[in-house]
């Protein structure tokens, strides 16, 4: 076997593919062959590395040098200069590095280092090669889990204080406990990889960058609740994620990490990937279950909750991708270690998708409790072009607008609740001083109108009325009462809608009006 001197990682995700990553990869491989370096240098595909808007990104290891906006034309120079002669190609260097590092908190680069638990491997290993995952302590946790009783696994998760990362903020161990204790001959674990929240792609990073971590998490979850079958319900547009997951599942089967009697433990488990139906509401767990059953993606009545009667009316746990990706780390390193990160009520880290007017938009993993200020200024390079911070929409489309007074609030599920805000899916949309709140609100309301499933009256017709009102205001044709109407309708929706989609629309409206009532009012002609 040849000794490989350099690994060249090329980030393959939807963004980079659109920027021409496949062509660059081909050119790179050919150039390496042409220059006679193929014995010494390997080209690997990796998932998204947590930076967007930088074109095709290439990372050269072991140096850890990041190149951005690489084109096919750059390849001959890059190979010759860096790989052959060992000189950096300065013009292609990424100016601001999306620093991502292992839990050791080593410090490099311009930006603050990120503690990486969930994204430990993303962008570092070849996600299509199970051996690379195993080499980084992958699949160790299932062995440890099998040495415990299922109750023991749930106890460990309980001790870790893990809270679901899908948005609802429900303690994972409690959910598992319900399903574990529910009577039933067949139980299911479902991974919610629908990621329908606009501007959110943190789950995709895990799916594309480290699919085995999710698989391992699901095996452990299955073992804990007594499910022998798991489903990954994945957003249909995530074709690369689907491809990678399917490859990973096939490899895991080959290594007998999925299938009958895993690691001689007596526990059998298998996984299927199911493509989502493309509606935002299908991310809601009961609508997701309906959709998995082949029905229309409408939310179900609760109770019964899925943990008691879910898929095909069997006890079912639905967990978010990020939640499940935490599991192997917690089991392998222990709850006490995990509690070393984050806050007392919400231990661990949170993966944020930060977009909008910041210098480095992308994916950030930060400890729970990190302030919005740190996230924007320390991790994301501050506001673009040195402008002033106006507000951020935190928690997704159904999140709250947070103004400057909220910059120093510790962000976790519990604490944000105190401020009538939510962490949600961890989406952060940052707006600078030039941003227009009416435009923003308009796009949020249009999104909700488009995504209302139509089941219940307040949401189906309330969103339609809200859109009418905001369109009127945006066109400077509104009347004074319109502002009141926005809150009235959304309040009625909060009190009477069937599912959280309709109930949560009041949050962006009330928070926007709290900070920017006057700005909205200014749009009303006298």
């Amino acid at each position: 076997m040849n000794r490989v001197r350099n690994h060249v990682l090329i980030s393959i995700d939807a963004g980079t593919i659109m920027a021409g990553a496949r062509a660059v990869e081909k050119a790179l491989t050919e150039e390496i062959v042409r220059q006679g370096l193929s014995d010494e240098i390997t080209v690997l595909e990796t998932g998204s590395i947590g930076a967007t808007g930088q074109g095709v990104i290439i990372v050269v290891y072991p140096e850890g040098v990041y190149y951005g906006n690489v084109t096919v034309q750059d390849i001959p120079q890059l190979v010759e200069e860096h790989l052959l002669k060992g000189r950096l190609v300065k013009r292609l260097l990424l100016s601001e590095l999306p620093k991502q590092h292992v839990v050791t908190k080593e410090k490099t680069g311009l930006l603050k280092e990120q503690p990486r638990i969930v994204l430990r491997n993303s962008g570092i290993i070849d996600p299509e090669n199970i051996d690379e995952y195993i080499a980084r302590e992958g699949y160790e946790a299932i062995g440890k889990a099998f040495s415990l009783k299922p109750e023991g696994v749930i106890e460990e998760i309980k001790k870790s204080g893990l809270i679901g990362r899908g948005g609802a903020g429900f303690p994972t161990a409690m959910k598992w406990g319900f399903a574990h204790n529910a009577p039933g001959d067949q139980k299911y674990i479902i991974c919610n990889a629908d990621e329908g929240e606009p501007g959110t792609f943190k789950d995709r990073l895990i799916l594309e960058g480290d699919p085995h971590k999710l698989i391992e998490g699901m095996i452990i979850a299955g073992y804990a609740i007594g499910a022998t079958k798991g489903f990954i319900y994945i957003r249909g547009e995530y074709s690369l994620s689907i491809e990678r997951l399917e490859k990973a599942i096939a490899q895991a089967r080959q290594y007998e990490l999925l299938g009958d009697n895993i690691l001689e433990s007596g526990f059998s488990f298998d996984l299927s990937v199911m493509k989502g139906a493309g509606a935002y509401v299908c991310g809601e767990e009961t609508a997701l279950i309906e959709s998995l059953e082949g029905k229309r993606g409408h939310p179900r009545l609760k109770p019964p909750f899925p943990a008691i009667a879910g898929l095909w009316h069997k006890p079912t746990v639905v967990n978010n991708v990020e939640t499940l990706a935490n599991i192997p780390e917690i089991i392998w390193r222990g709850a006490t270690w995990y509690r070393g990160y984050g806050t007392e009520k919400c231990p661990g880290t949170k993966v944020y998708t930060i977009i909008g007017n910041v210098a480095t938009p992308g994916i950030i993993e930060a400890e729970m409790g990190t302030t919005l200020r740190d996230i924007i200024y320390e991790y994301a390079g501050g506001i673009k072009e040195g402008k002033k911070f106006k507000c951020a929409l935190v928690g997704g489309a159904a999140g709250a607008f947070l103004g400057p007074d909220m910059l120093d609030v510790q962000m976790d599920f519990a604490n944000l609740k105190e401020y009538a805000a939510v962490l949600g899916s961890g989406a952060i949309l940052v707006m600078d001083e030039d941003a227009d709140i009416v435009d923003m609100l308009q796009s949020v309301l249009h999104f909700f109108k488009h995504e209302s499933c139509g089941h219940c009256v307040p949401c189906r017709l309330g969103t339609a009325q809200l859109v009418k009102v905001i369109d009127r205001i945006a066109a400077s044709k509104g009347i004074k009462e319109d502002i009141e109407k926005l809150s009235n309708i959304s309040d009625v929706m909060r009190d009477t809608s069937f599912c959280p989609l309709g109930q949560s629309l009041c949050l962006p409206i009330s928070s926007a009006l709290k900070y920017f009532h006057d700005e909205v009012y200014a749009r009303i002609p006298l």
Binding site: C453, G454, C456, R460, L461, G462, A464, D495, S497, F498
Partner: protein, 734 residues
Amino acid sequence: MTKEKKLSITIDNRKVAVKPNITILQAAREHNIYIPSLCTLEPLPSYGACRLCIVEVDGLRGFPTSCTTPVDDGMVVRTDTAEIRTLRQEVLKLLLSEHPASCLFCTEHDECKDYQGTIRKVGVTTGCRYCPNDSLCELQTITEKIGLTETSYPVYYRGFPVEKSDPFYDRDYNLCILCGRCVRVCNDIRMNGTLSFKERGKQTTIGAALDRTHLDAGCEFCGACVSVCPTGALSTKVSKWYGKPDGETKTTCVYCPVGCELLLQIKNNETIDVFPNYDSTIDQGLLCVKGRFAIPEYVASPERLATPQRMTPLGYEDISWDDAIDEAAEKLSGINPEDVLIVVSPQLTNEDLFVAERFARELIGTDQIMSVLITDMREETVSFLNLASASSPFNVIDTADTILTIGFDSTYGFTPIGIKIKKAAKAGVNLTTLSVHESNLDIVSGETFQMNVTKWPALLDSIMGKMPGNGKGTKLKPLNKVVVIGAEVIFSPKRGAVFEKIVEMKDRFGWKVIVAHPYTNLMGLLAMGAFPGIKRGEIVSDGTKSTGPAVEDPLSAMDLARHRKVVYLIGEVPFENLPECDFLIYQNALSVKSTRKPDLVLPSSLFTELSGTIISAEGRILPIRKATDPYGKSMPDWQIISKISEKIKSGALKYSSISAIQTDIKKQVKSLSDVKKRLEFRKISAKTSGKGRTGKRLSDPKSSRKPWEEKYRGIALKDVVSGMLVIEERRRHE
């Protein structure tokens, strides 16, 4: 049964005891506490879409909907606080933002209600009366109850074209409020699946998937969706502009021997519509297209006979009842019994058949009481009767472990049976369907065989061969196997061999049999003895003797090729193979186009216009109740026969009321005295006399056979009910 412990809850400061496992809404309704709701409808599953039934519950966050929240012991519920009232009004306003509301908010509203009880299809001056559902609409009631008198949103008219291309009902989704009742009833109750939601959000609509017509999407035209729709979105074509009915009569459907309960909707002494009765223990409200939609048009057909008529060289002339009775009596008095043929319809009531049978045997002195099933079933008549009289109650399907259907399709008939089978199959019962063409049950069956009838006997042999306990000595296991046989076999020229196999399955292997045949009151006909060789009451089991009558092949006994002096048709039409005769009496409700023109026409009343009973295929005695006055001068069949008898021999068969006949029936047929009890029947077997065939053989069955079609009293429904023509064509194509 252990008595369920009641829970105690408090609703609006009232302490009430309620059953466990019900919702707050159900509890409130049981105690007459009003909570508005548009999407809930028993027995449909809760849906939680209209959000009007919100309440406050101590200890629960926000405003849970009462239709989805189960009661709990000690629960404290408030249904009518100021906050709830406001929220309800706001939600209703949103709902009405896309529902035309001129009938709801109008200054003339009260006057309009009081003085314009009828409906105008075209708007009067205000132009507001364009909804067929006005004064029936639940939206109107709710708006009033919630106290909404104006709305703050302009009404958005969605502009969907009104869908009128399907038979029986129209759809105007501009009036739809997406309560989902129709979708739920179609899928969950009817197990059909024609209707579904399409699109989502504000674009949501209801309809058949892939924009097909309902006909193409497999709709049964059961009209369940129309019955449950709270708005005017779905409406019955024939009755949509009638407005609110002024009366309702519960009766029994006479189109087939299932005997579904019907709620006839009456307005101005006319049957304008028919609703199902979801509380029915017989059919659970699962009417088929015939009961639901084919009655008003039949009873109000322009072909209805209003007066007696006599044939003259110049055509028919109206005559008085006295003249008509005189003429009939004259032709029949003192006649040699051999020279008369009396034909009765198996769709008459027991009372009609009882009087007709006494007329034939006691007055005329003939045993030759003909009915259409003899010419339909021909040489297989006796084995058909053997199977039909051994028919099990339909609920054997509920406990079956194996079900086999033979030539059975329940799209346009026998829906209560079909739906039971679908439910059983969905619950995992082993279902096999055997048919020539596709059956609507194929999609739920475990095994489907589609083949020519000639191959069926062999297949049935192999099914029987698989049975446990077929070998000698092994004890037969208790069996819950049910075979349902339908029109495809009953009307197949090759049915003889199949019938034989089914008799074997029944007698040797203990299969329970359900025969889905079209002869509504066949059991009544046999019980009254209105059949050659069967005596009055003879086949009704009194729980003692098990052997029933042995019958000679009626077709040869009847000798239909022999000329008669008089043929008296009671509720039948001149059919093929009717013997030639000098004088034809036609007693029926609708006029008939036939080559052999009747000499005397006597108008009968129809079942909506009279009282009586029938015996269903399950052996239940079911009531027919009078809902409207007789049409024109028509009279019930028994009354006409009784009047003719009176003329022939005074006092012989004098009946002046239905109850007098019923008293006589009970006297003569003891087992019929307990109306509540399900009847069992004795086995009818073939008499094997060495006599051989006496009459001339009828013409070759194949050449004369028309495809089977739905009939009532000899008249094809498709000729009278416009929508049935479409249905019949559809059935033919399949």
